[in-house]
Symmetry: C2
DNA sequence: TGTTAGCACTCATCCCCTTCGAGTGCTAAC
DNA sequence: GTTAGCACTCGAAGGGGATGAGTGCTAACA
């Protein structure tokens, strides 16, 4: 049996597989030949479907929980479904409306927008949503202000040229006076203006050094720890408890390990970071290299501001996820968020 | 039968009740007379215990799931237990050690300390923990810096005299230039220095007004929205999924409503705010005026800095909670956190 | 040669029934 | 007042059918 790539199933098998996946996504119950025969309007008898399903099982697209149950899709099936089969759903007018109404464009702070986005995403999909805040590494700086907090520590407020801000507590030499910090702020703001922080450290720092004289080392340390702080990305996760609505997580220990993993956030953060350059990515089941997520799928999209990718967001749910709907929602949300941010941060 | 206040059970009933509550807290299973007779070294036969248990049931301290099961404590019993019966446990050396090792005193940022505290609290108790960040209303200001972000918006960084910081994005008139903001920052910092923000708005504002002339209204608006932002208290919640370890939450829908409530955070925030003046408070079951929390108990303590209460933290778990241990841990953590903050923010 | 009806077979689920045992409440004796 | 004894209760656990959804195979059909 020659397997010239999994996409080369004949049309009929494709349609049967689609019917099975669609049904299983809705019901979470193994799908039998009779059901397929009735639901897919192909005019084939259950017996014929059975033969095809048997083939599909042999090819690894279907699995049988036990002899006399129906079939459930394998990961391979979901992969094929996502890549080649599924109807790429359009949002209904109601759904688009809902998003428009709940993403309040009057909000004027980036963090608030991020939180709203996560909330809407989770409410609409009924899965767990996550939204990464815009990444600084891609943005150009406008200003860095050092504000004295106590002897030996200061808060650095970094503002980008598109109006996103972030703060970092840093240590400063105790000898530095508030006025010194103000001077340094002005100096590094003048020098860094328009650069990205990462490159600034290398190319601009030497120039700064020559001007600050004895405080050169201190300034260098400060910039380094600012850069460190800024490279930490915040992720807003909402709706983790939605997972309990799905029967595959009715087992408390499975739910527990999912929720613990989500609460720690480290894996999700990694996925979002990794996905920050592909427009849309889908990880199905064990494609997540994390055993706690082996029964989950994670779908991410990037969002932009000023034509550049500056962050990503996504949805986590059971592998039996409504891929079409979620992908449609994510696409729409991505462009909504990009619009809002572009306006917000000009 | 005269009931002169629930605390007036005779000694023997108290000890029996204690044995039952202790056992039930450990096992989550109804406790029978034989068990009590064996475990409590009172040298009484099961039959005698049965008579007492019957009385305790009549008095409302015990409940019977069904005729042939043992008894479980009622809320009233937990209340009595907490108020009058339980041994106020001491931490073991191991536990105290664990806290010392994991509350890193070298951390120099308040938010980080809060997060660590919540993590340790949840890890040690295996319940859900929550820690409120220090409240600004009680603290005196040292500095307010306005940093231009984009036309029409600025970030206000507020620093208290004990080194706690918080930021707020605010709108500013588009006509204001960066230099104006700098001037205003210096002015309000000079005037507000040492005052609490709330009182400052009323007493200091008039003075400021006279000095800023035409910008008086703008400054007033700015201060008002800063005050608004600062009065929002952040709560760090950790370990929500721990609840799934307890059999009383093996029912998915119960777990779901608990987790949803916790995720929203609004009730917990309310509890922490309400509890901010009593050293330790315990809410058992329906004493929480929130139906989703009717099977939970919430214990809170306050923490201090510079001798003043500036925040609170707590633990949420099933009513069958290890009150003695949790209260001991909270007491210890409260003083640890107070110490750390007092040092950190001098 | 692909499609279909027919049929025996499998196996999880449901329901009923029994058994088991932990626990109670009552009574009578110590 | 305390305790042993005993009948009674009732949930939990376990053991069959009965049910029915679904399969795979075979033989007939177009």
């Amino acid at each position: 049996m020659s397997d010239k790539g999994s996409s080369l199933l004949d049309i009929r098998k494709m349609r049967i597989l689609q019917a099975i996946v669609d049904d299983y996504i809705m019901t979470a119950a193994p799908v039998g030949s009779r059901t397929v025969s009735k639901r897919s309007d192909m005019g084939l008898s259950p017996a014929t479907i059975r033969n095809e399903m048997s083939d599909l099982t042999e090819l690894g697209f279907l699995e049988q929980p036990h002899t006399s149950a129906g079939r459930i899709p394998s990961e391979k099936a979901y992969r094929l479904y996502v890549n080649h089969i599924m109807d790429s759903a359009k949002l209904t007018d109601d759904e688009a409306d809902y998003i428009k109404r709940h993403l309040d464009t009057r909000v004027h702070e980036v963090g608030e927008v991020i939180r709203q986005t996560a909330k809407v995403l989770s409410d609409m999909t009924n899965y767990t949503s996550m939204v990464m805040s815009p990444q600084f590494s891609a943005m150009r700086l406008k200003r860095i202000s050092l504000i004295p907090v106590s002897e030996g520590s200061a808060m650095a407020v970094v503002v980008t040229n598109n109006g996103v801000t972030k703060n970092a507590m840093i240590r400063v030499p105790e000898t530095l006076q508030p006025e010194d910090l103000e001077k340094i702020s002005k100096l590094i703001t003048a020098k860094l203006d328009g650069h990205k922080l990462g490159e600034a450290i290398n190319s601009v720092l030497p120039m700064i050094k020559s001007e600050v004289g004895e405080q050169a080392d201190a300034v260098c340390d400060m910039l380094t720890s600012i850069e460190e702080s800024l490279s930490e990305t915040d992720v807003e996760v909402v709706g983790a408890s939605n997972i309990l609505d799905y029967p595959e997580y009715s087992d408390a220990s499975k739910a527990r390990s999912f929720l613990t993993e989500v609460e720690s956030g480290s894996y999700l953060q990694k996925v979002l970071s990794d996905a920050s350059d592909v427009e849309m990515s889908v990880r199905i089941g064990t494609e997540n290299d994390n055993p706690d997520m082996k029964d989950c799928s994670v779908i991410t999209v990037t969002y932009k501001a000023g034509g550049e990718n500056i962050g990503s967001m996504g949805v986590v749910g059971p592998t039996r996820m409504d891929y079409g709907k979620v992908m449609a929602i994510l696409r729409y949300m991505s462009s909504s968020l990009s619009d809002i941010l572009s306006k917000l941060i000009k």
